[in-house]
Symmetry: C2
Subunit: 252 residues, 2 copies
């Protein structure tokens, strides 16, 4: 099949289909498209393990994924699966008679989208500059991932306690709260951020420890949404974990 | 983009591109292609949770995925990632000075491919008939997943102890061993199968218990390859887990 060649042809309009198809080196385009789809699956399952940059060969595809309809569509599908589980879990009494049913959300690329910043900074193809990213975060104007905002409101409507658990540091609390409000998130039970004593911990260690604290506080962790496996794995885990797509960066 | 329309057009040959593109309802085809890619990602990440049948809307895409180059290509990529980790883990001494470095493989859709049977039985779109499948398994002629066979031999060459851990029952041992040999797998340290006392256990429970036994026996479980998350999750886990694609069935 000639997926990329074909996509180019269709995008170019019907009148130029023949020349587009013959102009594009189909075998190469095919191999690159296949490589991207495989890379995406590999990243999303965690098979890829730690990685630092989007492979150059995937660059055009990652950009198309993020800027086109697939990213939004995939995020919306995860949100729909999350809501279906949440409703069923509460209905079946998994919340427990006394425990507080809770849902844990990561912040970046889960509730907030930094896509505007990444669009201006190479969509993961360039090494991430922490200082530049932090400056963007301080501006506190990242938009919501719209399907996450919808899910968030629906979960609150169902009676879930909403816990935000982010790798951002305590020093970023004001900017983060301001950004969440800007994006439309109106309230939360807790916003847990890295304390000085959490510095140097991996995300898995830090987030697992905080989930253990939440359980000790009486929260029943039914769901957990994150764009990184490090948001989701490590004990204790939530009853169900929901992995949002993220082909632009990896957090250890 | 008009991915399916485009693929149809390219497949049909250059002379019929214009009529093919105009004949296919592009918007619908696009939505179906997007739906499949999303469904695939959802199944592979585990976001979908338990499912019984491939959605009808994905039927043509699942068939194309399995019969085309993507399935083989995706499996080969997982094998390459597995080998890269395996080599590095041994080199870094993660095998331990005294422990026996081990790799756990699931059997069906990991070492052996039942694609010939599924091709004749609706590629997951029909309810799985256990009796018919068992009859196919008894014939013991399932081919190897070629990239898994290559990985298997490479891991043995590196000195890994190879453990096969399958949901198949002890009564299927002879047929399973015969099939593994037929497919080219020449030796293994252990082939662990469900005993009468394991009946009724979920795959996660059964496989976790058996991994715990392996650890108690002194094996250092560095890698685990499986096409189901139930092959991989549950304590103890291997140092790294590798999820092979499987869009045709789900094991709880």
């Amino acid at each position: 099949m000639g997926l990329l060649a074909a996509a180019v042809a269709v995008d170019a309009g019907a009148e130029s289909i023949l020349c587009s198809v013959t102009d594009v080196p189909t075998a190469v385009a095919d191999a690159d498209a296949l490589f991207f789809e495989r890379w995406m699956l590999s990243v999303e399952t965690g098979d890829a393990g730690p990685w630092r940059q989007v492979p150059a060969r995937c660059g055009a595809f990652v950009r198309a994924y993020m800027e086109g309809e697939r990213y939004a569509s995939d995020c919306a599908a995860v949100a729909a699966e999350s809501l279906a589980f949440a409703s069923q879990a509460l209905a079946s009494g998994d919340g427990g008679a006394t425990a507080k049913p809770a849902w844990v959300f990561d912040v970046d690329e889960t509730l907030l989208s930094n896509a505007p910043w990444y669009a201006a900074n190479g969509w993961g193809l360039e090494e991430l500059d922490d200082a530049t990213f932090d400056a963007w975060a301080d501006v506190a104007k990242a938009p919501a991932l719209l399907s996450s905002l919808k899910l968030y409101n629906e979960l609150q409507g169902l009676g879930f306690h909403i816990i935000l658990l982010t790798g951002r540091t305590e020093s970023q609390r004001n900017a983060t709260e301001e950004n969440l409000l800007f994006a439309g998130y109106q309230s939360w039970e807790k916003l847990t951020m890295r304390q000085p004593s959490d510095m140097g911990k991996t995300a898995v260690q830090y987030k697992s420890e905080k989930r253990a604290v939440l359980e000790a506080e009486g929260f029943k962790l039914l769901g957990n949404s994150g764009d990184q496996w490090s948001d989701l794995i490590g004990l204790p885990v939530s009853t169900r974990s929901f992995k949002l797509p993220n082909p632009i960066y990896y957090v250890t």
